[in-house]
């Protein structure tokens, strides 16, 4: 396969945006593979996200977040200039509950794209990929919007670290 310059630049930016920001950071997910139309990530078990306190099984919402992140990122990688790909819809089938205290692996693949829509499939499993926890299909829009400004994200993060450059909630809301 020829060297893919766009992906070489996009890979660390996407990894940074997903792992070091907002909900991805809070979940503690790690992107293990980023290729064109294909994303792999892993989520370590966390007590904080338990959905059934009797069994210690993680809440389905976590699986939604993981698959949405993976599919959404996979959708972004098929574009030639990185841009936001809004989710149209997402459908998740839970085959069996996740076992507590074990990492969850997620794979997402773009299986078709048209002029306006990107079609993705995702899979979540623990021990055996052939016996998955959940399967999902998710569709994304290709929109004409300005590309994601990764450097702006990095600058915002840096400003938050500096005691004199703290961004306030009102700043964020007005998008300053």
């Amino acid at each position: 396969m020829a060297f893919d310059m766009t992906m070489a630049l996009f890979r660390p930016a996407l990894k940074y945006a997903m792992e070091k920001n907002g909900h991805g950071k809070t979940l503690g997910l790690k992107m293990t593979e980023i290729n064109r139309g294909e994303i792999n990530l892993v989520f370590p078990y966390k007590e904080e996200v338990v959905g059934n306190p009797l069994t210690g099984v993680v809440h389905g919402g976590v699986i939604v977040s993981l698959l949405d992140t993976a599919c959404g990122s996979a959708a972004m990688t098929v574009l030639n200039t990185p841009a936001v790909t809004p989710t149209i819809d997402l459908r998740l089938d839970y085959m069996h509950p996740a076992e507590p205290h074990k990492p969850i692996y997620v794979e997402a693949k773009v299986y078709r794209q048209t002029a306006n829509v990107i079609f993705c499939r995702g899979l979540a499993w623990q021990d055996d990929k052939e016996n998955p926890i959940a399967h999902c299909v998710a569709n994304f829009m290709k929109v004409d919007s300005k590309s994601i400004n990764f450097s702006a994200i990095a600058i915002t993060q840096l400003r938050r670290l500096m005691p004199w450059g703290k961004t306030t909630d009102s700043d964020k809301e007005t998008g300053k």
């Binding site: 909900h23 904080e48 959905g51 389905g60 839970y94 915002t156």
Partner: protein, 157 residues
């Protein structure tokens, strides 16, 4: 008593405690008590109260729920997780079932971007069968009539 019997006994005990806590929450008209029994609710910051004889769920804005930091917008997965959680609470609190419902499938339509402010949600149980329950959930921010997402969920009991 074998270790297997002991863990079975322990499960029974835990389930009984769970049922008693839910009965107590209903007595006090406090769905928030049920919410607090699920760790994931605190993780995303979901809350519940009764309004006009219906359960109202809400999710205050929180930096750890951001998905796209440049807008900023709430993570789509968080909106999904919040609606799935709301649907589960709706069942646990309003229907008289013994165990924690198990989700079978979940379908989510994103209608608008979730801006960085409070999200509200309401649920409706469309059908309760012997084994399967169908619940819909709708989320909005400014106006209930302009939802940001709707979800449909099946639970096994």
């Amino acid at each position: 008593m074998s270790s297997e019997e002991m863990s079975l006994e322990q499960n029974k005990h835990q389930l009984k405690e769970w049922q008693e806590s839910i009965a107590a929450a209903r007595q006090e008209n406090s769905p928030q008590t049920v919410m607090e029994m699920i760790p994931y609710a605190a993780f995303i910051g979901a809350q519940a109260r009764i309004e006009n004889d219906q359960l109202l769920y809400w999710l205050d804005k929180k930096p750890s729920n951001i998905g796209n930091p440049s807008l900023p917008a709430i993570h789509g997965g968080v909106i999904g997780g919040f609606l799935e959680l709301a649907a589960a609470i709706e069942i646990i609190y309003t229907l008289d079932i013994a165990a924690v419902p198990k989700v079978v499938d979940f379908s989510l339509d994103y209608l608008r971007a979730g801006r960085y402010k409070t999200i509200y949600a309401k649920c409706q149980v469309l059908r309760q069968g012997k084994k399967l329950i169908n619940v819909t959930a709708s989320a909005w921010q400014d106006d209930e009539n302009t939802p940001i997402a709707t979800a449909r969920c099946h639970f096994l009991i």
